[in-house]
């Protein structure tokens, strides 16, 4: 089994970097089993084809504008994910949605895809998360861990 946890976003635009900050913390705090690959995808797209191909499960962490209050955490799974990606949801024209569509074309799409999103409070220039979003970081990491644990992967904390 191969599970990919992909954090995406631009760490130069404060809360836009929540996905990357999440995977950084995950890698820093936990021992990862060989079946779990954790990737800091930044704002890349086609460069990720190789890493995302043939994954059994894909967990994406990203900033998501859903109109909810800042720092709200959302989770999308199953049928919600394709709807979510059908329109161009990202200003990156060759973004994540295109990578996933390309994987479908190549017959290498992930077995399941889950999106964990956080509503940003600010997208201003800066390398720090806003305090409201930063406070959610442990919970976002916890959500990723419970997703992994539902797939039979329990992460041990680093000592």
């Amino acid at each position: 089994m191969r599970i990919v946890v992909l954090g995406v976003g631009n760490i130069l635009l404060s809360d836009e970097g929540i996905g990357v900050r999440t995977v950084e913390k995950l890698m820093r705090d936990y021992v990862l089993p060989p079946e779990v690959e954790v990737i800091d995808g930044g704002t890349s797209a086609m460069e990720l084809l190789e890493d995302l191909g043939h994954a059994d499960h894909l967990i994406i962490v990203d900033a998501v504008c859903s109109g909810k209050p800042p720092a709200t955490i959302i989770k999308l799974a199953g049928a919600e994910v394709p709807v979510f990606f059908r329109t161009k949801l990202s200003p990156h024209q060759v973004g994540l949605s295109d990578v996933l569509a390309t994987l479908v074309l190549m017959g290498e799409q992930p077995g399941s895809t889950t999106v964990i999103g956080v509503e940003p409070q600010s997208l201003a220039l800066g390398m720090e998360l806003t305090p409201a979003v930063a406070r959610q970081l442990p919970e976002v990491v916890g959500l990723v861990r419970s997703e992994l644990s539902a797939l039979g992967m329990n992460l041990a904390a680093r000592v």
Binding site: L12, E16, M46, A63, L123, L125
Partner: protein, 567 residues
């Protein structure tokens, strides 16, 4: 006055670019290029340790990660006058060329070919006739009838699902689409094969850079790859041999597929050699340094004025004053506080001052750079023309191959001057890619030979003086000249400016109100149907636009981000 067309954003690119055109009598009569996002990331760097700048600059953009890292370390090295060990140069050169090959293949097949290739028409192509055509052009192993049959079936199934995915935004059936179903099938098959082959280039970057999309192995003063041929954790013989295998596969594809496809598409669209020239002042910088000081390069660079190759002025070394002193940026038409005229990047200011879109005033977040007060086109065409002017034999050879193939298919002679065009930029990109793939192989050989001599040095330690120093790092990136300019005071960054390739090409009007390369290239561009301005996209996409630092927020309520608005 004609019709006003606004395309916002231009599809299939990185970032937010808006193009406005006035169209009269089926032609573009006026054009504006506008960057719709503020690119102020340089301000983040102020006060940081110059040794860390590259890790931050490679986050500017998701496509150009490595190139901003390379330009950044070079800027700091230039400020310190720091030499870089040969092994480090070769390793960097391999990352640079592998990245460029990846970028060019992806741009042609996945980001721009669909402006010319009608995927839905490929479903009507006859696999036997396609194979016959393909075999007359190239000996590529993926050109069999069986292969084309499979692609047709796969594509039919994909289209049959009703979800076109990556093909959703194409202008299928547009009157400007001219290829036969067989050529469309051929190109679509290669589109799919290219998806596979581009991974090999990416693997080379991953192994050498320790990781992608963000490489980890750079350092001001060299690279962090320890070389120990018998160790598991570092650059070993085994890893180097794997890289050689990928290089060979890439070379096969680039020479027998990419170069041939560009020639064939060019021949069928030879009328596009008449459109899209725009600014014919061409600027490129030398790259792939072969010595520790950066005075000798595998690929030459320089400046050509007004399309005249005889006017070529070489740029000779890192920090060459001819380059360093020639660059300025104007904000007269950009959303920044100005009034001081065009400024040199060491003195550059980035204070936002947003107004509305003003046709004759400010209308873009992109600054307008000039070289000795004139706008310049950068990118593969500038690179290839400067290398031809500098008598670079491999470039001349591959360019001639393309011109001959196009000529024989179009049954006419194609002169070098045909390159000053929309389709010429695609041809030049393929030529550049072929040159780079040979060079990647050579750099691999140089690294192996140097290690065999017993040299395992990869790093010179930087030492920062107390006073103020400044430096420029340039890099001939896939999209053209990239320069990072740094001022360091007491070991901390006190000013930082990145003049990126798309800044040159997507520049708004400059201090003297002269339009930038996109704007100039769009004049007289045909537009058959203002509702479906495919021809405008062709010309803009031929530059391979990449507006860095776009945000990446998912927006579930935004049903349609891509809008074509006809006013």
């Amino acid at each position: 006055m004609g019709k006003r067309i606004t395309i916002d954003p231009i599809t299939r690119i990185e970032g937010h670019l808006r193009i406005d055109c006035e169209v009269d009598g089926g032609k573009v009569t006026k054009a504006w290029a506008s960057g719709q996002m503020w690119r102020g990331v340089e301000q983040i760097l102020l006060g940081h340790d110059p040794r860390d700048a590259w890790t931050i600059t490679q986050r500017i953009c998701g496509v150009c990660t490595t190139v901003h890292a390379i330009a950044s370390v070079r800027a700091v090295e230039n400020a310190l006058n720091l030499e870089v060990p040969l092994n480090a140069q070769y390793i960097r050169n391999m990352i640079i060329t592998a990245h460029a090959i990846h970028d060019h293949i992806v741009h042609f097949y996945h980001l721009s070919a669909l402006d010319w290739v009608d995927v839905t028409s490929a479903l009507k192509g006859d696999p036997a006739k396609t194979a016959q055509l393909a075999e007359s052009l190239s000996s590529w192993k993926g050109n069999s009838m069986h292969e084309f049959e499979q692609v047709k079936t796969r594509l039919g199934a994909f289209v049959g699902t009703g979800q076109l995915g990556i093909f959703t935004n194409g202008y299928w059936g547009h009157p400007a689409m001219k290829l036969s179903p067989e050529v469309n099938l051929l190109a679509t098959a290669h589109y799919l094969q290219a998806l596979d082959i581009q991974r090999k280039a990416n693997k080379i970057v991953t192994v050498l850079g320790s990781k992608t999309p963000h490489i980890q192995n750079l350092a001001v003063g060299g690279v962090a790859n320890p070389i120990a041929l018998d160790s598991q954790s570092v650059l070993t013989v085994e890893r180097l041999l794997a890289i050689k295998g990928w290089i060979d596969e890439l070379a096969d594809f680039v020479k027998n597929v990419y170069l041939v496809d560009v020639s064939a598409i060019g021949a069928f669209y030879s009328d596009w050699t008449k459109y899209g020239a725009g600014i014919t002042d061409y600027l490129s910088v030398p790259d792939l340094p072969l010595d520790t000081k950066g005075t000798q390069f595998a690929l030459p660079g320089g400046y050509i004025k007004a399309g005249d190759l005889a006017s070529h002025h070489p740029i000779a070394a890192f920090g060459d004053p001819y380059f360093r002193d020639g660059v300025e940026e104007s904000v007269k038409h950009s959303w920044y506080k100005g009034g001081k005229g065009a400024l040199h990047p060491y003195k550059g200011e980035t204070d936002p001052e947003y107004t509305d879109f003003q046709d004759n005033g400010k209308y873009s977040w992109v600054k307008s750079p000039t070289f000795y007060s004139r706008p310049a086109q950068v990118g593969p065409l500038a690179r290839v023309l400067n290398m031809v002017a500098a008598n670079h034999e491999p470039t001349k050879k591959y360019l001639q191959t393309v011109l001959d193939t196009v000529g024989s298919l179009a049954k006419t002679t194609i002169p070098v001057s045909a390159l000053h065009s929309t389709i010429g930029r695609h041809a030049a990109r393929a030529v550049s890619c072929a040159v780079q793939v040979d060079e990647l192989d050579k750099q691999w050989g140089l690294l192996m030979a140097n290690i065999a001599k017993g040299d395992t040095a990869t790093f010179n330690k930087p030492v920062f003086p107390k006073g103020e120093i400044s430096g420029v790092g340039f890099h001939e990136a896939p999209r053209g000249v990239l320069s990072h300019w740094v001022v360091i005071k007491g070991g901390k960054i006190s000013n930082y400016q990145a003049v990126v390739p798309t800044t040159w090409n997507a520049a708004p009007r400059n201090e003297s109100d002269v339009p930038g390369p996109y704007e100039a290239a769009l004049l007289n561009n045909p537009v058959a149907d203002p509702e479906k301005p495919l021809e405008i996209l062709r010309t803009v996409h031929s530059f391979d636009p990449c507006l860095a630092c776009a945000v990446h927020v998912l927006d579930p309520d935004n049903k349609e981000v891509v809008t074509v608005k006809v006013l």
